[in-house]
C-alpha cells in the first residue's frame, strides 16, 4: 500500500476489510500482474510498475457454488426494481448527468432526498441505480481505488480504465444479489457499468424504471450543438417527465455538468414547482376535464 511503502512498514495482511457475511472472516486480495497500466510516452518507471494492483474487495463466499451451506442467508425484504431515473449525455459543452432523488423500498418512499449522483474525483461523476446500499458501497470502493491509483502512479486513471476496474471488481459478485448499475460520466466520455457484467460506452444513457420516459424526451431534442442552458433544460425536462409518469421516481432533480475544468453542481430543484408551472401552462386543459365526468 502507498502509505506502507513510504513508511517502510511491513505487516502481514490479515485484515478483515468488510464483514460482508457473518460467517466469513478472511478477505481476498487480488494480485494481477496482467494489470500493467503502461502509459504513452514513458516507457517504464521501474518503481511504479513494480507495485501490483492490489485491491481489497468485500469477502466472498468460501465456496460460491454451494450456497445452501451458508447458515445465515439474508433474504431480500422486497423485490428490487431499479426504482429511479438517472440519465447522462454528451454534447459540445461537456457531459450532463441528472437524476431524481427518490429512494423507494417496494411501495414506500424510503427517502425523498437521496444523492444519486456522486463525484468520484474532480472530473468524474457517477450516477447510481439499483440497490442503494450496494451503490453507495461500490462508489466508496471505487473512489478509494482511484485515489490509490493516483497516489501510486502520479496520474489519474482514465475513465475507460476506471470503468474496467469497476467491472473487474464487480465480476466476482455476478450471480449474487449485488445490484449496481452505474454510469460513469467523465468530461468527454460516458460509460455504463452494471453488476451483470455490462460495460458500454455511449453518447446517451438513461438507467432505471423511469428511463423509458426520459429516453423519449432526450431522443427528441438531444443534439450535439446544444448550448449549456439548453442542455440543462433538456435534462431537467427529461427527469421531470419521468418522475411524472413513474411511481418510483420523484421529489427533486439533481444536475451535474462536467467539463474539462471539472464538475459543477446545479442547485437541487423540487419538481413539484415544475409540475404546477406545467399545469398552469396548460390551464385550459385542466378546466375542461370536468366536462367528461
Amino acid at each position: 500500500m502507498a502509505l506502507e511503502d513510504i513508511c517502510n512498514f511491513k505487516d502481514k495482511p490479515t485484515h478483515k476489510t468488510f464483514p460482508f457475511y457473518a460467517s466469513e472472516d478472511t478477505s481476498v486480495s487480488v494480485f494481477t500482474e496482467a494489470f500493467n497500466f503502461k502509459w504513452r510516452g514513458e516507457m517504464t518507471s521501474k518503481k511504479a510498475s513494480d507495485v501490483p494492483l492490489e485491491f481489497h474487495v468485500p469477502s466472498l463466499f468460501k465456496r460460491p457454488s454451494s450456497r445452501a451451506s451458508h447458515s445465515v442467508s439474508v433474504r431480500r425484504p422486497f423485490p428490487l426494481s431499479h426504482g429511479t431515473t438517472t440519465l447522462g449525455f454528451i454534447f459540445q459543452g461537456g457531459v450532463i448527468a441528472a437524476a431524481d432523488t427518490r429512494a423507494s423500498a417496494g411501495g414506500l418512499v424510503a427517502c425523498p432526498a437521496v444523492h444519486k449522483i456522486t463525484p468520484i474525483h474532480s472530473h468524474l461523476v457517477v450516477t447510481s441505480s439499483g440497490s442503494g446500499a450496494d451503490c453507495m458501497l461500490w462508489e466508496r470502493i471505487l473512489t478509494r481505488e482511484i485515489r490509490l491509483y493516483q497516489l501510486r502512479h502520479k496520474r489519474r486513471l482514465s475513465i475507460s480504465g476506471t470503468a474496467k476496474l469497476l467491472s473487474l471488481m464487480l465480476h466476482p459478485f455476478k450471480g449474487t444479489d449485488v445490484c449496481v448499475a452505474l454510469t460513469l460520466c467523465g468530461w468527454d466520455k460516458l460509460i455504463y457499468v452494471c453488476s451483470d457484467g455490462a460495460r458500454l460506452q455511449g453518447d446517451i444513457f438513461s438507467v432505471g424504471s423511469g428511463s423509458p420516459y426520459a429516453y423519449g424526451v432526450l431522443d427528441r431534442s438531444l443534439s450535439w450543438s446544444l448550448n449549456k442552458e439548453e442542455a440543462i433544460l433538456l435534462a431537467r425536462e427529461a427527469v421531470f417527465r419521468a418522475t411524472h409518469r413513474d411511481a418510483y421516481s420523484g421529489n427533486n432533480v439533481d444536475l451535474f455538468h462536467v467539463t474539462a475544468e471539472g464538475w459543477r453542481q446545479r442547485q437541487r430543484e423540487d419538481l413539484k414547482e415544475e409540475y404546477y408551472r406545467d399545469m398552469e401552462k396548460r390551464g385550459k386543459k385542466m378546466d375542461l376535464t370536468g366536462l367528461f365526468s
Binding site: Q92, P212, Y213, A214, Y215, G216, V217, D219, R220, S223, W224, S225, E237, A238, R241, A242, H244, R245, D246, R282, K284, K285, L288, T289, L291, F292, S293
Partner: protein, 283 residues
C-alpha cells in the same frame, strides 16, 4: 379441443344515457353470445364431463409488444399505433393493423394478444350493431366500453389478454363530443384524455405529456402522435415498422396513409448530419 358455446344473459337496465321511463316501458335485455373454440368450462375452472383436455399453454410469454396511443383534443380524438406484430423475438407481421374501426364513429386500438383483440373487436362491433338496430340509436363510447368490459369479465383469470382504448365521438344530448376509454381484460375500465398502451408506451408518454393540450390543431396533434410513435419504435424492440393514425370527429373517422418510419429515421439522421456539418463549418 371441444367446441363450446356460451350464452351470457345480462340485464342492462341502466345503460348510461338511458332514462328511467324508457326503462320501464322496454325492458332492455341484452343477450350476447360468444362462440369460443376452447373449452369454456375448463377455462372457468369447473370440472366438466371428465374431458382429458388440459389448458393450452402459451407458446411464448406475452408482453404487449406494441405502441398504441390515443388522446382527446378540440378537434376530436386522435389514435395512433405502430404496425409490428411480434412473437417473442420474431416479427410475425410488419404490417398488421392495430387500430380497428368498430363503427363509423368509434375506433379501437388494440394491444395484448392480436388474436384475442381481433376476435373481441368483431364481437363488439356485432353487439353494437345489434344495439343500434334494436334501439334506433348508437351506443355511446362509455356504453360500448362498459359492454366490452362486462363481456370480458367471465374470462378474468384466464390467459385472455386484451387491452384496448375505445376512441369515439358521441352525439347524445347529455354527453356529446370526443370520448376516450381504456378497457382491459383484467377488468379495468378507465375514462381519460390521454392513454398509451404497450411495451413502447413509456417512450410515447413522455413525448405526449410534453405536447398534448386541448387547443391543438389537427396538424399539430397528428405531428405529436406520429413523433411519439416514432420515438417509441426507435427505443422499443417490439414496436416498429409503420405508423397508423386515425382521427375521429363528428363526421366519423378518417385514416391517414400508413407511413413507414424507416423514412422518418433516415430523414432525421440526414438533417442531424447536415446541422452538425454546418456547425463544424462555422467553427
Amino acid at each position: 379441443m371441444r367446441q363450446g358455446v356460451v350464452y351470457i344473459n345480462t340485464n342492462f337496465s341502466s345503460v348510461s344515457g338511458f332514462d328511467a321511463e324508457r326503462d320501464s316501458m322496454r325492458t332492455c335485455l341484452l343477450t350476447f353470445e360468444c362462440c369460443c373454440v376452447c373449452d369454456i368450462q375448463k377455462l372457468l375452472g369447473r370440472r366438466s364431463h371428465g374431458s382429458a383436455g388440459s389448458p393450452v399453454p402459451l407458446p411464448f410469454p406475452m408482453a404487449h409488444g406494441t405502441t398504441t396511443l390515443a388522446f382527446v383534443f378540440q378537434g376530436g380524438v386522435l389514435a395512433a399505433a405502430d404496425t409490428r406484430s411480434s412473437c417473442s423475438g420474431l416479427v410475425a407481421c410488419p404490417a398488421s393493423q392495430k387500430i380497428l374501426p368498430i363503427h363509423s364513429h368509434l375506433v379501437g386500438t388494440t394491444s395484448g394478444t392480436s388474436a384475442d383483440c381481433a376476435l373481441w373487436k368483431r364481437i363488439l362491433s356485432r353487439e353494437l350493431r345489434l344495439y343500434q338496430l334494436r334501439n334506433g340509436r348508437r351506443l355511446s363510447t362509455s356504453g360500448a366500453a362498459k359492454l366490452l368490459s362486462h363481456m370480458l369479465h367471465p374470462f378474468k383469470g384466464t390467459e385472455l389478454c386484451v387491452a384496448a382504448t375505445l376512441c369515439g365521438w358521441d352525439d347524445h344530448t347529455s354527453l356529446s363530443g370526443p370520448s376516450l376509454f381504456y378497457v382491459c381484460s383484467d377488468g379495468s375500465r378507465l375514462q381519460g384524455t390521454l392513454f398509451s398502451v404497450g411495451s413502447g408506451s413509456p417512450y410515447a408518454y413522455s413525448i405526449l405529456d410534453q405536447g398534448v393540450q386541448w387547443g391543438l390543431t389537427v396538424a399539430e396533434a397528428t405531428s405529436i402522435a406520429r413523433e411519439a410513435v416514432y420515438r417509441a419504435t426507435h427505443r422499443d424492440a417490439y414496436s416498429g415498422n409503420c405508423v397508423d393514425v386515425y382521427h375521429v370527429t363528428s363526421q366519423g373517422w378518417t385514416r391517414r396513409t400508413r407511413e413507414d418510419l424507416k423514412e422518418e429515421y433516415y430523414r432525421e439522421k440526414e438533417s442531424r448530419r447536415q446541422t452538425h456539418e454546418a456547425e463544424k463549418k462555422m467553427l
